[in-house]
C-alpha cells in the first residue's frame, strides 16, 4: 500500500507554493472544482495528488486568464471530460484495430 505522503497533499503543504493560498483553495472547493479526501476543517484538509493537478490548473486559469470561478469550474469539467473521452477513444481504437486486423 502506498503511504500517505505520496498520494495525499495537506493544505499547509499546498500553500507553501507562492501561487497558492487558503482563500484560493477554499474558492476551488466551494465551486466543486476539487474536493478534499480528508479533513473536516480547512486546516486538516488533504487532497489526492491527482486532484492537486486540477486544483493548480484551476488557480492558473483563474489568475492568468482572468476567468471567474464559475467559468473555471466549467473549463475544468470540460477538460476532465475531454481527457476521459480521449483516453476512451484511444482504447477503443486500439481494440477495434486488434479486432479488424487479420
Amino acid at each position: 500500500m502506498m503511504n500517505d505522503s505520496i498520494r495525499k497533499v495537506s493544505i499547509e503543504e499546498l500553500c507553501k507554493s507562492k501561487d497558492i493560498n487558503q482563500t484560493l483553495v477554499m474558492e476551488v472547493v466551494e465551486f466543486g472544482i476539487a474536493r478534499p479526501v480528508e479533513g473536516n476543517t480547512i486546516q486538516d484538509w488533504k487532497f489526492d495528488t491527482s486532484t492537486v493537478h486540477w486544483l493548480k490548473k484551476a488557480i492558473r486559469l483563474n489568475r492568468q486568464l482572468e476567468i471567474d470561478w464559475v467559468g473555471v469550474a466549467m473549463v475544468i469539467e470540460l477538460l476532465k471530460q475531454r481527457e476521459a473521452l480521449e483516453y476512451e477513444n484511444h482504447t477503443l481504437q486500439r481494440q477495434l484495430a486488434r479486432f479488424l486486423e487479420s
Partner: protein, 320 residues
C-alpha cells in the same frame, strides 16, 4: 540583459488604454496558455505575455516602465537599469522575484524590495533574486510503466532536467533519481515525491516531484479500469466444436474452455487476471474472433464445399 518591449509583446500602441491591453493579453493568453496549447514553446511565449501584462495593467508599474523604456529602448541586448534606479511598485500575487519572470523584469522591479529588506545589513545590496526563503517549484514527470510492472512494486530510474539558482543565475541541471513505483498504479495517477522538485532558495523548502504514471500500450492487452481485454482468435471449427485453449495473462498462462457454437464478439471472463485493485485484482476478458485460414488447400476446399451444400445457415436472414 535583453530589453523587453512589453508594448510590442502584446502588440499594442504605446498609448493604448487599459481596455485594449486587457483585450490583447486575453487573446494571446488564450493562444499560448500551457493549459490550452501543448506546443513546446507555448509556455515561454505565455510567460513573456504574462510579464508584459503584469507591468502594463498596473498604472504605477507602467509609468515606471515607460521611464525605463525611454532610457533603455535603444540598448537591446546590453540593457542595465539607470544608476540609482529604484522601483516604487508593490508587487501583488506574482512575486517580483519569481523565476517565471525575466531578468529584465526582476532587475527593474525588484530593486526596491531588496533594498527595503537589506537596509539593516550593510553588506547585502543590489540583489536581483529573493533574499528571503522561497519554496522551490513543483515539477511533473511522465513515467511510462509496463502493465506487468503494476502487479508488484518496482524500482525505476528516472532522469529529468531541474532548474537551480547558482550564483544568482538560473541553470538547468540533469537529475537522476531511483524511485519506487508502488503496486497497483493506474494510468494517469500522480505519485508525489516530497522535496524532489525544484530547489528552494535562501533556506526555503524544495518543491515536490510528481510522477505522472502512463501505462505503456501492451501488444496483447487493453486496459479498462482495472480489467484487461484481449482478442482471442479462433478457427471456425474451434468456435463450432468448442475447444480448450491456453491463454497468456500478465503473470503466466491459464487454460480456458471455449464452449461449442461460440460467436465472434463473445467475451469470456478469466477471473482475477486483471490489474491490481485496492483489494484483489480485476478480471481479464477474452473477446472471441473467428479467423479463417489465409489459404485453403484442395482437401479443405472439398470439405467446405460439402458443408456449403448441406448447411441451411443463412447469415443474411435479416435482410430478406
Amino acid at each position: 540583459m535583453e530589453f523587453k518591449d512589453y508594448y510590442a509583446i502584446l502588440g499594442v500602441a504605446k498609448d493604448a488604454e487599459l481596455k485594449e491591453i486587457k483585450k490583447a493579453y486575453r487573446k494571446l493568453a488564450l493562444e499560448f496558455h500551457p493549459d490550452m496549447n501543448a506546443a513546446d514553446d507555448a509556455e515561454e511565449k505565455f510567460k513573456e505575455v504574462a510579464e508584459a501584462y503584469e507591468v502594463l495593467k498596473d498604472t504605477e508599474k507602467r509609468a515606471e516602465y515607460d521611464e525605463i523604456r525611454k532610457y533603455g529602448a535603444g540598448q537591446k541586448q546590453g540593457f542595465t537599469p539607470p544608476p540609482g534606479w529604484q522601483s516604487e511598485s508593490q508587487h501583488t500575487h506574482w512575486d517580483a522575484n519569481s523565476e517565471d519572470f525575466s531578468d529584465f523584469f526582476n532587475s527593474v522591479f525588484s530593486a526596491r524590495r531588496s533594498r527595503q529588506q537589506s537596509h539593516n545589513d550593510p553588506f547585502s545590496q543590489g540583489y536581483t533574486r529573493a533574499d528571503y526563503p522561497m519554496t522551490g517549484q513543483d515539477a511533473e514527470l511522465e513515467v511510462p510503466i509496463f502493465l506487468e510492472d503494476t502487479l508488484h512494486s518496482s524500482a525505476k530510474t528516472v532522469e529529468f532536467m531541474q532548474s537551480e539558482v547558482v550564483n544568482a543565475q538560473l541553470v538547468k541541471k540533469k537529475k537522476t533519481l531511483k524511485v519506487k513505483i508502488p503496486q497497483g498504479v493506474v494510468d494517469g495517477q500522480r505519485i508525489r515525491l516530497k522535496g524532489q522538485g525544484g530547489k528552494g532558495s535562501q533556506g526555503g523548502e524544495n518543491g515536490d516531484l510528481y510522477l505522472h504514471i502512463r501505462l505503456v500500450p501492451h501488444p496483447l492487452f487493453d486496459v479498462q479500469g482495472h480489467d484487461l481485454t484481449m482478442t482471442l482468435p479462433l478457427a471456425p471449427w474451434e468456435a463450432i466444436l468448442g475447444t480448450e485453449i491456453t491463454v497468456p495473462t500478465l503473470d503466466g498462462k491459464v487454460k480456458m474452455t471455449v464452449q461449442p457454437n461460440s460467436q465472434t464478439g463473445q467475451k469470456l471472463r478469466i477471473k482475477g487476471k486483471g490489474l491490481k485493485r485496492k483489494s484483489g485484482y480485476g478480471d481479464l476478458f477474452a473477446v472471441l474472433k473467428i479467423v479463417n485460414p489465409p489459404e485453403t488447400d484442395e482437401k479443405a476446399l472439398t470439405l467446405w464445399n460439402e458443408l456449403a451444400k448441406t448447411s441451411a445457415f443463412d447469415p443474411r436472414k435479416e435482410w430478406s
